[in-house]
């Protein structure tokens, strides 16, 4: 059940981040832009929380990978810069995909 929740939150976060970066986060309408970023932040919070819980429900060998997935937003955030924002966003998307593939 927890693993399913993790997969769902990963999917939602992936879609939110991808569509946000490509369109909504740069929208001319400030209301749309702000609300979509807020939605992204909430999706990230649920992703982190569900990833953390998933650590306790996967095989021992997969625990470090899922742990890295749960802290990846902060690690990527630490090293990110505005000039390489697209690179770090793609990296975050890859981490989400890896997390899902690992638990499948």
């Amino acid at each position: 059940m927890i693993i399913k929740i993790f997969m769902i939150t990963s999917f939602l976060f992936f879609c939110e981040l991808l569509t946000g970066v490509l369109y909504f986060y740069r929208h001319q309408n400030r209301f749309i832009k702000e609300k979509s970023v807020m939605l992204g932040a909430w999706a990230l919070v649920f992703y982190i929380f569900s990833a953390f819980l998933t650590i306790f429900y996967v095989k021992y060998s997969l625990k470090p990978i899922i742990f890295l997935c749960s802290v990846s937003p902060f690690i990527i955030g630490y090293y990110s810069s505005y000039k390489k924002l697209m690179f770090f966003t793609v990296l975050q998307l890859l981490v989400i995909v890896i997390g899902v593939l690992v638990v499948l």
Binding site: A41, L44, G77
Partner: protein
Amino acid sequence: MFHGLTGSPFEMQKYGKFLFANGYDVFGVCLPGHGEYQKEIYTVTFDEWIDFAAKKLDELSEKYDEVFLSGLCLGAVLSLAMAEQYPDKIKGMVLLSTTLYLDGWRLPWYKFLMPVGLHTIFRYFYTYPECEPYGVKNERTRASIKRILAKPDVGMDNFPMCAFHELLELSSVVREDLKKINIPSLIIHAQEDDLTSVRSANEVYQNISSKDKELIILKDSYHMVLYDNEKEFVFNKALEFFNAHSQKSEVCL
């Protein structure tokens, strides 16, 4: 003089003019990533603010016998950084609405998401909009500020989260070395500051090693103390401080 986060020298103008009229040479600098360089606010780091301030301080120290610093919000934190690194070059400082923490009452209900906003890539996407009460308790002034913020060269009408991130990084660096500060200091902060609580001012007052220090808590103002109900009081207190600590003929701020 150092302006606040997402502000510009414009917000220090009345204060600067008042001090100039009372015999001081006043220099209001535009920090990197602000004013006409607003687009750079996404790429500017706190190190660049420190380097810029140090360079300006160096230039003024060569021209003037005495140099005082004064700053609002981010400007106050920058003044603290300069006092820690270059105590011999600064005669004294006046700190207004020092922002070491973002814990004011105006922050929205979702402020618990701040770690997500500050420490992930979302800090480059999210901007916190400038909103009521615009840091001002006086309603007439608030209405004027709303109109003025519509102009691009006055200040930004939103706070990019990455700018908050750099301010808090600067704050954590400054807080580590507050005990190194031993120059005369006047700290002014509003009890009802909407952006940063008096905790910031109290921490500075309690931790700096200056023997000559004073903390004034304003009862009828918000964050923008230079524009609010007690602005004349702030101007006069700052002037009293500078007059009390200035001995030479050539002085600048």
